[in-house]
């Protein structure tokens, strides 16, 4: 049972069948999935969700597949929790973390998009999947392809963090390390996708793939008790997640599950690669490409595919953007770990650091609900933390060695008896 009507150009509105199309052949505009929202509204109620599995597929009616889901059956529905200690530190009253750093199985929000993309790729008859990736997507495509028994090629920039390379290689795909930036990888995949009959999840089946990101927004609304937060800070690479969170809230409202959402969206980027943040701050609809130079490699997209739409979504919501330095990113990672016990990757550091600046500037008010989007896991990006954390205290296995090595710290400690 599917509620997908077809595909539609976001620019000129031309309609296309639900096939492998990712760009309007007339105006080159972006292609989007079009649903029969009236029919969905008749089917879905808040009560229906009580008995559904705790995975991203609980929102199946709003996802672009025809049959039953065949990938990512345990993905999604990640933790959402109130961050009291971090709120105290930042001086705000109501702060939440949506934590995809523990997404099953590859520890980033890319499990969502890939679950949808691979289910759809199989429906379309592909036996090989591929992607252009800054790391997390390659991990997710490799893992889900292994489980689905699909052939797999992942293309990454050659200078990725070792954790992200290993976390693809373990599933035994073909990993292609391209000498260049992500933008070079992406352009290459665009050209390869015209030559090889493969499903490049974020290129030629992107309209389906990108819909998976909506589930991150659906979950925030549901886990917040069927309401949208007042403010939501979102990391931006291609800009797709921002546009899909906006779409998620709009869809829930359209089918009657959510009051009209007033959420203001904020784009978080690294100063060394902030084309979307720059466009937002100039209130311009022209996203100028940049050459990335940042430790936040998962966000290092200089020519973002959805930059234009992300910029529009943020400005229309009344939100804003902030770009942060490499030092601020590391401080953000440490602050989240020290206050909330969550070890996020550099992108999460970007989100937290940007939120902190926006709060300090008074752009985000201190007394309204705020959600921080944590989308990846710190175990994959350990390099920037080398020499920036405390060190383990090395001792002999004796009480004497312990006490002499930690003499300073133990000065005020009490002992038993």
């Amino acid at each position: 049972m599917s509620f997908v009507l077809g595909l539609k150009c976001r620019e000129c509105g031309r309609l296309y069948p639900k096939e492998v199309i990712n760009v309007c052949e007339y105006c080159f505009g972006s292609i989007e999935v079009d649903y029969d929202y009236d029919a969905i509204q008749r089917t879905l109620s808040r009560a229906a969700f009580a008995s559904r599995p705790k995975s991203l597929w609980r929102y199946r009616e709003l996802l672009p597949i025809e049959g039953e889901p065949t990938a990512g059956l345990s993905s999604g529905f990640t933790p959402f929790f109130r961050a009291e200690r971090l709120a105290d530190t930042l001086g705000v009253s109501e702060l939440y973390i949506k934590d995809d750093s523990v997404s099953h199985p590859t520890l980033s929000f890319k499990d969502r998009v890939v679950s949808v993309a691979l289910t759809r790729a199989k429906e379309l008859g592909f036996d090989t999947v591929a992607c252009a990736s800054t790391g997390n997507l390659a991990n997710a495509v490799s893992s889900h392809a292994a489980r689905a028994g699909l052939k797999c090629y992942v293309f990454i920039p050659a200078d990725l963090e070792i954790g992200k390379v290993v976390a693809s290689l373990i599933y035994r795909p073909t990993v292609v390390a391209v000498e260049g930036t992500y933008d070079d990888v992406n352009r290459l995949c665009a050209e390869l996708s015209a030559k090889y009959p493969w499903a490049f999840v974020n290129v030629n089946i992107r309209p389906y793939y990108a819909e998976g990101s909506k589930t991150y927004g659906f979950e925030i609304a549901e886990q917040l008790g069927w309401r949208a937060p007042a403010h939501i800070v979102i990391p931006a690479a291609s800009g797709s997640l921002i546009t899909k969170i906006a779409k998620a809230f709009k869809e829930l409202h359209r089918i009657g599950l959510l009051a009209e959402p007033q959420a203001k969206l904020y784009a978080a980027q690294a100063a060394g690669c902030g084309p979307i943040a720059a466009a937002i701050r100039e209130r311009s609809d022209i996203v100028k490409p940049v050459k990335p130079n940042t430790i936040a490699k998962s966000l290092a997209i200089g020519n973002p595919a959805d930059g234009y739409y992300a910029t529009k979504a943020v400005l229309e919501s009344g939100g804003w953007a902030e770009a942060v330095s490499d030092d601020e990113i590391v401080e953000g990672m440490k602050l989240l770990a020290e206050t909330e016990g969550v070890f996020t990757e550099t992108a999460g550091g970007v989100t937290l650091a940007a939120a902190k600046k926006l709060i300090e500037q008074g752009v985000i008010p201190r007394d309204e609900s705020i959600v921080l989007c944590i989308t990846g896991n710190g175990l994959k990006t350990q390099e920037p933390l080398v020499n920036r954390l405390g060190q383990a205290v090395r001792i002999k296995p004796s009480i004497a060695s312990f006490e002499s090595s930690l003499a300073g710290q133990l000065a005020g400690a009490t002992t038993k008896r």
Binding site: N22, C27, L124, D183, A190, S193, A194, P197, V203, N303
Partner: protein, 120 residues
């Protein structure tokens, strides 16, 4: 000798199905003018009414985005490779499973497979 221009699939209907064509010109702008002379109607698909590249089209000269060079005034010379690529997702054009392609276009396998999968 001339400049090789790679044509995205949606525009190949205007180039008689060719994925690569040869054009002449000293700049990208001149190249697009020559492309239009050879394949009338193609330029309006790539450029807006003011003659500027459309928002969702990217042009690369020897793998470099011309927005990092001199835009449409970027110099080109014989032997250069120029790619015209839809901007969305670096956006390529469809590779469909052949069965779907046949259904959508209602044509024979030999007609489409050479075009869809031809070596570019």
């Amino acid at each position: 000798m001339a400049v090789t221009v790679r044509i995205p699939t949606p525009l190949q209907r205007l180039t008689n199905g060719q994925g690569e064509v040869a054009c002449d010109g000293k700049t990208v702008a001149e190249l697009l003018g020559d492309l239009e002379r050879r394949y009338p109607g193609i330029k309006e698909r790539i450029c807006d009414q003011q003659g500027k590249l459309r928002r969702f089209v990217n042009v690369f000269v020897n793998e470099e985005d011309i927005r990092f060079l001199q835009g449409d005034q970027t110099a080109v010379k014989d032997g250069d490779d120029v790619s015209i690529i839809p901007a969305i997702a670096g956006g390529a054009w469809p590779v469909r499973p052949i069965s779907d392609t046949l259904r959508v276009f209602g044509c024979q396998k030999s007609d489409v497979s050479s075009q869809m999968y031809s070596d570019r």
